[in-house]
Symmetry: C2
Amino acid sequence: MVKKQLIMEKSLELFVENGFESTSVQQITERCGISKGAFYLHFKSKDELIYCLIDQFMSEFIADVERSVSGDTPPEELLYNFLHLIFSEFQKQANIAKLFMKEQVVSFNKDLLEKMQMYQIMFNRIILSVVQRQYVQTDKKMHLDIVMVINGLTKSYSELIFLDNYSVDLDKLCKSIVEKVSIIAQHANIHTITLDYFASTNHQIQITRESIIELINEVLNEIDDHKIVRESLVLLKEHLKESNLSEVLVQGLLKNIRTHTRCKWIAFLYQLEIEKEGGQ
Amino acid sequence: MVKKQLIMEKSLELFVENGFESTSVQQITERCGISKGAFYLHFKSKDELIYCLIDQFMSEFIADVERSVSGDTPPEELLYNFLHLIFSEFQKQANIAKLFMKEQVVSFNKDLLEKMQMYQIMFNRIILSVVQRQYVQTDKKMHLDIVMVINGLTKSYSELIFLDNYSVDLDKLCKSIVEKVSIIAQHANIHTITLDYFASTNHQIQITRESIIELINEVLNEIDDHKIVRESLVLLKEHLKESNLSEVLVQGLLKNIRTHTRCKWIAFLYQLEIEKEGGQ
DNA sequence: TATACTAATGACTAATTGGTCAGTTGTCAA
DNA sequence: TTGACAACTGACCAATTAGTCATTAGTATA
């Protein structure tokens, strides 16, 4: 399995350097010092590689972001925590962050495109929930515009830092963005986006119990170690079908699996699903 | 020459649909209903096509932007004018605007990359000059951060409107952005970017008299009609070498050529060059 | 009609692409 | 030493690519 990681790392470098389309499998295998056949031992196709690369990063990333602004954070620290996590995660995974900034949606296959869209929506949802909690005083009509401001500032500062290699003090940067957003939340009156935008994009994302079960099965096939994680997953899967566990037990099981990187995404979707059920 | 325009239009469509790398010359010629040979009658290579496409749009775009915030605009309207021009220009040239948002710098050849970088710097300079004039009261240390805010907001709202097809009232949108930026200019205190960033990027852009003369010669070869434009260009070229005209005459000649789309860029660079000279 | 010219064609090439698979290598246990 | 097995190789394939060029079509002038 270590070779698979090697391929992912080296190919990521090449994608950042030359773009996805312009990087050939040949180039990847050369940089890895392996043969072409070895590549196809680990990935069914070049498309699967890019899909893996993005999915692995994004599922973990979104789940981390979600946790950084979870219920037990004081409302006034939400945005700061959110920003800090994003920028430090970008710093840790500089290559894939750059790939996201440079390469855009074009030229990805349909599956990946849909997935990306879903991540985008989830991301916006998280930001919206941050805004709703941190800026309770602000008129709700402004909330979506504030989401746009956060999105825009994050984007332009990210590019400055990671593409232009401008070095800043992370703490100061986050504080400065929080300051700007807070000022706007306090004083701005003109809003341009209405909730129908979110409504129109939200219904596109379909999380079903079946899709989560499928995901769990996938992960169960992949991990062999970690008895606790395996058994928790099995129990959670059971619960999805039969609803045979109390809430507190489910929360415990979710905490069990969240430590495993491959499960963060499942935990996130699971939480969303049971919240949806509870709300109805 | 009408066929060249056809190629540019149709190829632009395809680039937006599939990306630059994934669009083959074959596809372009098919959509145009012409043969492969005909394509290479108008463009030396596929690279030249994309270069033309971007350069033609950008040179005109930047020059228009620059004019929209020129000296005779009341300071309090500068940012509004700037934003309004950008968004309405994007609306007019929706396809190429989308291309810029979707396709990023990767996979372009070196020449084009340098050019793009130059445009980016010019763009930032224009925004900075807007900020400096409209927000004179604001601490200068905040100016670059305000530039970042404008950049970020423009970017995220553009994507919302042009990629997600969210329709908004242009006037209201611009007012809302101006409001946000003004609020930040008034209240924000934490700044994260220092002028050394601009200093470090600015020296990269080298406009020499020779390069302007070269540009003028290029355009002279391309346009046959328009006697006034031709003669103005020749006189301006002379003046670059000999400095034989008074400032007021030069300004008049610049006004003569600015009406011609292919000359807007030259006029812009020329203005920059003579200002540089005057300042020294 | 004959000539001269440009505009346009599309079969062609050489190179590269993603992907395959018969065969080789290395590493175990028996 | 043998045999079984998985990891790995790289020559190979069909498809596609950007770009070329001998040929043809169309048109204006003589």
